[in-house]
């Protein structure tokens, strides 16, 4: 999914009681620039040293094309309100994206206890 497409479906995630967290190795000022450009209230997390990416297995060593530093490779993880992972998506090619309708459908199907 593209960030802009996510933003267009923001209300669906809100209704499903899901907080969308966008994680990249961008520095805070870079992430804030993207956030403003998108005009979104999604939270942008700055994994500058790619430690979170490493924890979940989405590390791309020296993957930054310009700075040659570690970055995250694309992937999506949906965790419920108890912090239990319910769905994951890891494409083998970064051109591929998770299907947004599928993600929303799964988010809606989380147990009631997982919703606000």
């Amino acid at each position: 999914m593209e960030l802009a497409q996510l933003q267009r479906r923001a209300s669906d995630f809100e209704e499903a009681g899901v907080e969308v967290l966008l994680v990249s190795a961008d520095r805070p000022e870079e992430s804030e620039k993207v956030r403003r450009k998108l005009g979104t209230e999604f939270r942008f997390l700055c994994d500058v040293e790619a430690r979170a990416a490493e924890r979940v297995g989405l590390l791309h060593l020296k993957g930054h094309p310009l700075e040659k530093r570690d970055i995250a490779t694309p992937g999506v993880i949906l965790a419920d309100v108890d912090g239990i992972v319910r769905w994951v998506f890891k494409p083998r090619n970064y051109r591929m994206r998770a299907d947004l309708n599928t993600v929303i459908e799964i988010a809606r199907s989380l147990p009631e206890s997982a919703k606000v």
Partner: protein, 146 residues
């Protein structure tokens, strides 16, 4: 006709190899249609590991172009046509090699979300456990905004 001087009127230069030129243009247009189609689908949110129509259109374009230069060889046309397989090579390298992502997801459904601590773009601290009991979390890892 004046003897020894050839025709003086009512004659034309031989026509250029119009058909070959047309085929050459058709080749490029077909190839470009394949490339445009791929990006058009991306804009519509359609992601394909192997965009078959793009491959077919590019192959057809290469074929038309090759036929045109073989039928009417011309150094300018050879050079111009040569760009087509070169661009195809770059496109295929990007599609099949460069965009392959490393990593082996360590989390599986049913397991707890790993804990980590990050700052958000506004300077606030965040840990996955902060959401516990409040909201579900959709963690979208992406390559960056560069």
């Amino acid at each position: 006709m004046i003897p020894g001087r050839g025709p003086v009127s009512g004659t034309r230069e031989p026509p250029p190899a119009a058909k070959e030129a047309d085929m050459f243009i058709v080749g490029w247009v077909t190839w470009l249609a394949g490339a445009v189609w791929y990006f058009f689908e991306l804009r519509r949110g359609i992601y394909r590991l192997h965009p078959v129509w793009t491959y077919l259109l590019m192959a057809a374009g290469l074929g038309f172009g090759a036929a045109a230069v073989v039928v009417a060889p011309d150094i300018q046309r050879w050079v111009s046509w040569g760009a087509m397989p070169a661009l195809t090579g770059v496109f295929l390298y990007w599609m099949l090699v460069y965009s392959v992502t490393p990593g082996w997801l360590r989390v599986r459904p049913g397991e707890p979300m790993p804990d980590f601590e990050l700052r958000d773009s506004k300077g606030g601290a965040f840990r996955p456990r902060d959401l516990a009991g409040r909201r579900a979390g959709l963690y979208v890892f992406y390559r960056g905004g560069w």
